[in-house]
């Protein structure tokens, strides 16, 4: 099997002694849409920094499409496109030049670069802004510019570090659509994000990193299946009487028109509705209290922190 990214025993200790990565192993399959999640300071950006050659590793190996980053950096870098978390383009350059220059750094001829730049800027809704200085773009446009720049050499692996941070809902959804299209066309995508609904909606596989260790690495479906109990919020018509006691379900009244209920994995939601109907409670709508992935993520990270604390004290 070809791995788009194959990381083995990757460690990084910064000069100040901070151990950002503690020998992680991570494999991302070709064609995957992969989420790399973790709390702030967990080691996500360090991992991405090492893969993109911006951070020097302490130990371990990185292969991009079977090409070792140390042994053959030039070819390994050809495969990779990076959309970093922070804006890192020259704000005093016109939009079109930023993309064209990036093509030049990959040795792409001017005619080919012109065609690709026009295509990408049109696709990402920036063609009308091509002569504008980058500093005059809105936050969402700047994010899209970084995607266009990262895609100009047609990388087989695209890493996006918080691509939708600070963009409005409409642009966020149009970016999701674009990323799904890219993935369907064969680009392997690795995404880090703090919006867990984004990861849940887009990604097929997931790794959770915390304190420099991979604490979970599985498919999104398998991870979500681990969730034993979900809390739902039900919007109801106003209650005429007090909150009834249900068999096997514990209701909690939030206000006159809102109740919360925890539903275990093996329980039937139909059963809940039958009992509610029986007590004359009409449900208008229903939603998850928190995103399912968020619930799992918090649980895993808290568990890891508790274990680390136990080890330290032990």
């Amino acid at each position: 099997m070809t791995f788009a990214l194959d990381i083995k025993q990757l460690s990084k200790t910064y000069r100040n002694g901070f151990q950002a990565l503690r020998g992680i192993d991570l494999q991302v399959k070709q064609g995957d849409f992969f989420a790399l999640l973790g709390p702030n300071g967990a080691g996500k950006s360090t991992t991405i920094g090492i893969v993109s050659s911006l951070v020097r590793k302490t130990a371990g190996s990185v292969k991009i499409f079977n090409t070792d980053l140390d042994a053959d950096p030039s070819n390994a870098k050809e495969f990779l496109g990076l959309v970093p978390q922070e804006f890192n383009f020259n704000v005093f350059e016109p939009v079109i030049e930023i993309v064209l220059n990036q093509a030049g750094f990959y040795g792409i001829s001017r005619s080919q670069a012109n065609a690709r730049t026009e295509h990408l800027l049109k696709q990402l809704g920036l063609w009308d802004k091509r002569k504008e200085m980058a500093r005059n773009l809105s936050g969402g446009m700047k994010r899209r510019l970084m995607i266009a720049r990262a895609m100009v050499h047609e990388p087989k692996l695209l890493i996006l570090d918080e691509p939708t941070a600070g963009v409005d809902v409409e642009i966020r959804h149009s970016m999701w659509k674009y990323l799904r299209q890219l993935n369907q066309q064969g680009t392997t995508i690795i995404l880090t994000t703090h919006y867990l609904d984004e990861a849940e909606s887009l990604c097929k596989n997931i790794a959770i990193i915390d304190e420099g260790r991979i604490i979970e690495n599985t498919s999104m479906k398998a991870l979500l299946n681990q969730l034993n109990c979900e809390t739902f919020v039900l919007d109801i018509k106003a209650l005429n009487s007090s909150l009834p006691q249900l068999e096997n379900f514990e209701l909690q009244l939030i206000d006159d028109t809102t109740i919360e209920v925890g539903i275990a994995k093996q329980q039937s939601i139909n059963e809940l509705f039958v009992q509610l109907s029986h007590h004359g409670i009409d449900v208008i709508s229903m939603r998850n209290k928190v995103n399912r992935l968020e619930e799992l993520f918090m649980g895993l990270v808290e568990r890891n922190e508790t274990e680390s604390l136990t080890h330290t004290q032990g």
């Binding site: 911006l54 020097r56 870098k77 020259n90 030049e97 030049g104 750094f105 001017r110």
Partner: protein, 257 residues
């Protein structure tokens, strides 16, 4: 990366650099033109006419090569130091670092950009000097070669400064406290033959003296220094500074965590 692709990457960096200083020409080309005009007016015309001859030449003719080369040195240096430091500061240097462009090409592109600005400003200053004196260039080949080599040397020095710089103050310390004094004491305005023996010998430790004299040799045909020695010194410094720059880039000093 194939050779043809490396050439495209080099051309990209060079074009980017030329466009950068051309876009802000009021900050990059106009100030040296005004400064050297003032030098020509004050030291050449007003004071120079009272000084008389220097090493057998009218004073204004004597200072023209030094003033042109001073503009070349300052601009080649400041182009690279400010451009590369800005790229670090705004983090867009990462565009190059994540790409397959070899470090040698990155360095060559920036140095070529510095040389381009140095030569461009040198031409502007030379044209201005023609309004003040009847400049006849003795040896075009030597003159041009000295300009290009000197610009290369100081572009590489500017690159090293930019790599080590951690703030905008750091990119002005070397030009202010090292480059300007060495240039002024490098024989722009006088021949070292005028100095007491001790200071003549001390002046020989100043590398800029060799460049100014080599350029003066190209323009006027006169020099305090043997021209072969001058070229050797320039070349040795170029090799040393480029090797230093490459080492910094390969180690990722100030660029990679």
């Amino acid at each position: 990366m194939k050779l043809a692709q490396q050439y495209i990457a080099f051309r990209t960096i060079l074009t980017k650099e030329i466009l950068r200083f051309a876009r802000i020409w009021v900050q990059t080309v106009v100030p040296p033109a005004i400064t050297t005009t003032l030098y020509f007016v004050i030291f050449g015309n007003l004071i120079g006419s009272r000084i008389g001859k220097m090493d057998g030449y009218a004073y204004i003719d004597y200072i023209v090569p030094g003033l042109i080369l001073m503009a070349v040195i300052t601009n080649a240096y400041s182009n690279v130091v400010s451009s590369f430091y800005s790229a670090k500061f705004q983090k867009h240097v990462e565009e190059m670092l994540i790409s397959p462009t070899p470090n040698g090409i990155i360095l060559a592109g920036y140095i070529a950009g510095g040389v381009a600005r140095g030569v461009c400003v040198g031409i502007v200053v030379t044209i201005i000097s023609m309004f003040f004196t009847d400049l006849k260039i003795e040896n075009w080949g030597i003159s041009f070669l000295v300009v290009v080599l000197t610009a290369t040397l100081f572009a590489a020095a500017g690159f090293i400064n930019a790599v080590y710089a951690k703030s905008f103050d750091d990119i002005s310390i070397i030009p202010t406290f090292v480059l300007t004094p060495l240039t002024y004491l490098g024989g722009i305005f006088y021949t070292i033959k005028m100095l007491p023996e001790f200071w003549q010998t001390a002046s020989l430790a100043n590398p800029i003296l060799y460049m100014i004299n080599a350029f003066r040799y190209g323009i006027l045909g006169a020099s305090d220094i043997d021209i072969g020695l001058a070229f050797s010194i320039i070349l040795i410094f170029i090799v040393l500074l480029i090797a230093w720059s490459m080492q910094l880039l390969n180690k990722g000093v100030g660029l990679r965590n």
